[in-house]
Symmetry: D2
Subunit: 421 residues, 4 copies
């Protein structure tokens, strides 16, 4: 290897399924595109099975494998812990890592409950006092088009905001025969579409507008109340690559319809109850006075990963759909009506967020780049000793919105204020 | 004129602004494209001003002018009364016309209150027993793409319905300087965006799905609470052609931002309070189990007349946007995933609803054709002695949804059942 | 009827199939939307069959029927002759009408040959000296979006023009079993896709750019060289409504695949040779230096009536597709790259060409409105005593382009200058 | 590092600008997503400047740097030579590498002349006899949507092909002040838009259709004939990231408008002649009977990297635009007309080419992935001892099309057969 006189930053990652794979690609690539002040080193990967973790480490480019996350945290060559496990283990790992003086990136949703998220946010606050930083991985903020939307709203180009129309639409469990994977189990996932993808669109909406959701009125529904049990092997063997979810967690990314034949008991298909939401709808009010309409569902047939948001302000509007992630649609309402209209800005110009690092105009980026950008921002913040964003407090705020949605749905859709921190 | 041995059907229309102009075009055109069992005759037009009504009658092709709608109803050569006035006069005119044995077409919303709508529905029910028929003019049902959507849902091509995502977005009052026209006054208009355009999208959603909205949770907002008074002349002089509304009512269609300088008192601009909603959002449940998300607003900058609806079912999805009214997007979820996707069906094939009467494939229709279709269906029903649809009862049902939305919004967004008739 | 003190303008129309139907709708509607200086009167309709012509006149609103076009021209109550027949009769009728002192609107292409077109243009030139005017009916110039495109190019908003990319794509004869209707016969139609739809896109391109095509290099092809003969009845009985063509001519508009069972001789299907082009492609140079790429075909499966044109200039670009006729896409290249992009202008604002006469923003127009606009412009020009556009000379210019295309295709695609008049 | 018992495959790459950066990313990533039979090792990078090449090697992940490509070829740890230089050096390097028994990947266009390409193809043919393989890097074949298009055409889903409509539109030199970078110099680049991007779209069209272009009729144009000389530093210092080209060659990727202040002589801006085409248009015939229309330009303002292709066949049509690279539009003409239409297939399903290796449905890929796929296919072929595609013979065929285009343009657009090999 050619000498590199920058200091190194050792990374330890926990989990290697869908999220672990995409985080690995980001760690592997970030240094070739961004001129970082430190050199990230992919030091060690944590998992449960020795064999599987070692194989994953080899394939994904990690120098070592650990089968206990406590050992991973304890390694001297690890300064950053990247948590890619399901939500039920986030709090324990993150708090321990911060306590050990390791910076933390944690996948979203921050936790499976407000209480856990509060504990994590408190730990992060305490660690920050010691120069140890934490970030929650809402990667969609790092879509160049989303970052550009944020920039334009912040610059006042939309004027006073009136409407936010936000949806996250998928269709991977529309088939009632799709099995009861961990994402459909409250114990593991916390909630259903709400926490998995609703959390993303809530964060994205708050990020773009720079406003907070102050209260919500909600409906949730479980369309398919009973599903075949996932086969014994479905959990870990399902490859992240084909998991039809925007899942975040390693060790259990989704499972696939094809591979996930339900368990069979005496010839009958064994089924289990789905105890999370299939869809969540809510309307709400933002701190700046805008109205918001939100929807998260895994039953929108034909919509694969449609994180969509439209913002209407007095001076203009913006529209985005992740299915065409390199485009941001902008209506400039200050132009004469005869020449105004939504314009398709291809967000690949050198002046666009993150874009100068990549390819010439019109040569678009993909899903994984959002993680590369996230990690670039994280590394730069950590190296500079400043707090990366979004913080655990931001993650907690999203968690409180999720809780308000569930509370409203459980209380006749009554308008429910989001608890302040 | 060349002899025509069909019986005639004399039409009397009240109102000649935006809705009156488009209804006139429909009456004028329908016979050239559809082979009707009777020949509609544009007998007389009703308005308040002798001069203006006469001029309108001449320009729009009506044989006579009346300045009292009672006289219009009483004419022997009038068998159909077509009501194109604002909502506050619908009940009185419609009930009188039905009592006089005249068939009635009435613009939407049926009335400005549930009570009025109930009286109208009762009158229509009674009249039907005497062979006299009434229809409420939800013209968007007659967009070929919307009628096709209804057909496909009814045929079961979407399977079980899970989601309805419906919006009616306009932007014509986003400017706070836009004056206080009648559509922004509760006394005349009943409500704001909710009744004007929300009514349309509610009817469209119920029509396409064949399901009823059973309950709603709502938020409404008036973003601009005080507006310049419309100049003395703004009401009637504003030409319907430039009125930036989907308004329905004659004698006062909207007014324009440009022409509508506010009244001035001692040099200061006189203003008045806006007492209707600028926007209404609600979520709800359909009778068949689907969840619905609705939004009606006149503040969605860049959206001109975006009546949009997407329906997701277990076997497929449909999407429509009136701004591209000749297109229906269909996702067939029964196809292999590798070749499925939303397809753009250009609804101009001879097999499509209404389309065979017009032009070859790809030669699209416009807004006014929805009225031509509506009148064609009405004339055929009346000639056949059967009830046209949507009935006044259907209009009442929409009115009850509007009332539930307002009740929910006034009660902390609590889920509010739609009252059954 | 209510008194109207404007002078009348009597119209006599020849032909009542597809083009006759759409022209009738325009004559019927124009006065209700545009404030014309004269009142058009639909005086008489000309056709060959007494019975059919009378029925058409009744249905389409013409006051009388004539079975010889010479008689129609001779009528005292006819001041305008509107020619909606196939191209092989244009010259004779138009020249006679002009000689008789009648203004003429003639469907496109102006004629089936350059020689005929020259004779017509000469007759028009002579008539103009007597205050008698002629126009060729390139209706697509009157799409509001196309007229807006012309306006913006003329204003210099595109800067120096570099590229014109123009296509007219249909698919109605892709099926080899589609019969040999008159549009596929050189004797009647002059040419195939080239003259029928290629003529439109040539005129549209020259109109928008304000430049002339100076020379072309071309390929033409007849993919299906032999087709079933159209049944005896296919010619006249095929209704224009379902004819899948942008046909212009009456008495035989297209025929339909369904209705057009081929003639049968002794049990075998009788076939005939197709002696026109199925598709024509050419590249060329415009007078201002732009390069042009053109394509006209009836074999572009899935494209129904896609008259498309994109123009790229140094300061901006425009794109249009008739399948979304209410939209004009505009890229303003003078904006900073970071915020530029093609914007979708919905061409329904009061400031847009023709739009103020119709409905509020977002309430789109349809195919037939292009004819209403055309007739409005024609009537205004005739009433003002000025020459309407496009003139027969313009029609001749298009004819010369068509001739150059055919000449190039016949001569090894050699670059062939368009003959100057 | 964790042990990996697969054999290694040592890579030596020449050039490190735009193409070198993207190839590096592909070599770096391919093993983490595809289960390769060998382990690629990024052994050495070749460039001219010691310092710059070493820095690039460090940033891009190459283990060593060489300043003479002959030394790179000679290294024992190099089994593959990846050529990312401008076209004028391709022949010399490739032929030497093949002679040395090294497999070769060479960027496109294969060479700057037919003669060079012939020599390269001959060398590749000879090497293949010794088990040494060569591939030309037409990366757009490896867009999943393009590969899917090829699959569907090969399966006969489009029936008989009638039309190919292909464009490659960019706008990065529309500004006359953009300097005379190497891509605008015949000596370095061979030709202008034609060879740079026209080559891509020719290959893509032949790949998708499985047919060869047999002859063409062409026009080329240089709109801006004189440009400022690029500053002394413009060549190598311009970063590939911002080079607004689809360029392929290292050592000189494009230069940017901003950074490229023209050279100044005595206060005046020194200019030079542009001796390549700014745009090339041609029409042609495919071996299977389809007509083709092609356009390559860098003056299509607003189009950033619009490699577009539409194919119309008797049974269906396909449309693709690289600016929305994850979508393939498919019209199935065998469906009933009433439900047919172009459908947007998001090419991210596990069943789609290459897609299973990446992310769940709807999580799109970017530009660089096409190179990862290309290298994956190359490595698999080399490991299996079979010839990778496209071969140098395929590259030569494209070169012959380019030559025919230039010959036709120089000979009055005469139809010019493409020479057979």
């Amino acid at each position: 290897m050619i000498a590199d006189d920058r200091p190194t930053l050792g990374i330890g990652m926990v989990g290697y399924a869908f999220m672990g794979r995409v985080h690995s690609q980001a760690w592997r690539s970030v240094g070739a595109f961004f001129d970082l002040p430190v050199r990230p080193v992919m030091a060690a990967l944590g998992g449960r099975s020795k064999e599987a973790t070692t194989a994953a480490a080899r394939d994904l480019g990690w120098a070592a494998a650990e089968t206990d996350w406590r050992d991973l945290i304890a390694r001297d060559d690890v300064q950053v812990v990247d948590i890619c496990t399901p939500g039920d283990s986030h709090a324990e790992i993150a708090i321990a890592a911060l306590a050990a003086g390791k910076h933390v990136i944690c996948e979203k949703p921050l936790a499976n409950s407000v209480a856990e998220a509060e504990a994590m946010a408190a730990a992060a606050r305490a660690a920050a006092g010691r120069g140890v930083h934490a970030m929650v991985a809402f990667n969609y903020r790092r879509v160049p088009a989303v970052a550009l939307a944020r920039r334009w709203v912040a610059e006042g180009r939309l004027g006073r905001l009136h409407h936010v129309r936000a949806q996250y639409l998928q269709d991977w469990i529309a088939d009632p025969a799709f099995p009861l994977v961990w994402r459909l189990q409250r114990e593991r996932a916390g909630s259903g579409a709400l926490g998995d993808i609703g959390a993303h669109v809530i964060d994205t909406a708050q990020f773009i507008t720079g406003e907070l959701l102050e209260g919500v009125s909600a409906l949730t529904e479980t369309f398919v109340k009973e599903r075949p049990l996932a086969g014994a092997s479905a959990g870990l063997s399902a490859t992240g690559a084909t998991a039809p979810a925007d899942g975040t967690a390693d060790g259990a990314a989704g499972g696939t319809a094809g591979g996930a034949a339900g368990g069979t008991v005496d010839g009958a298909v064994a089924t289990g109850a789905v105890d999370v939401d299939d869809a969540a709808l809510f309307i709400g009010r933002f701190s700046g006075g805008a109205l918001g309409s939100f929807e998260a569902t895994r039953f929108a047939t034909g919509r694969k990963n449609a994180l969509r948001i439209e913002v209407n302000g007095s001076k203009g509007s913006l529209a985005f759909d992740f299915e065409a992630m390199n485009e941001l649609w902008f209506h400039d309402h200050t132009l004469p009506a005869a020449e105004a209209g939504f314009r398709r800005v291809i967000v690949t110009e050198a002046e666009h967020p993150y874009a100068a690092a990549w390819w010439p105009p019109g040569h678009g980026l993909g899903y994984e780049h959002t993680f590369t950008h996230e990690i670039k921002d994280f590394v730069e913040a950590v190296a500079a000793g400043v707090a990366p964003a979004p913080s655990f407090a931001d993650g907690l705020r999203v968690q409180r919105v999720l809780a308000a949605v569930e509370a409203s749905a459980a209380d006749g859709s009554r308008f429910t204020p989001v608890e302040e921190s």
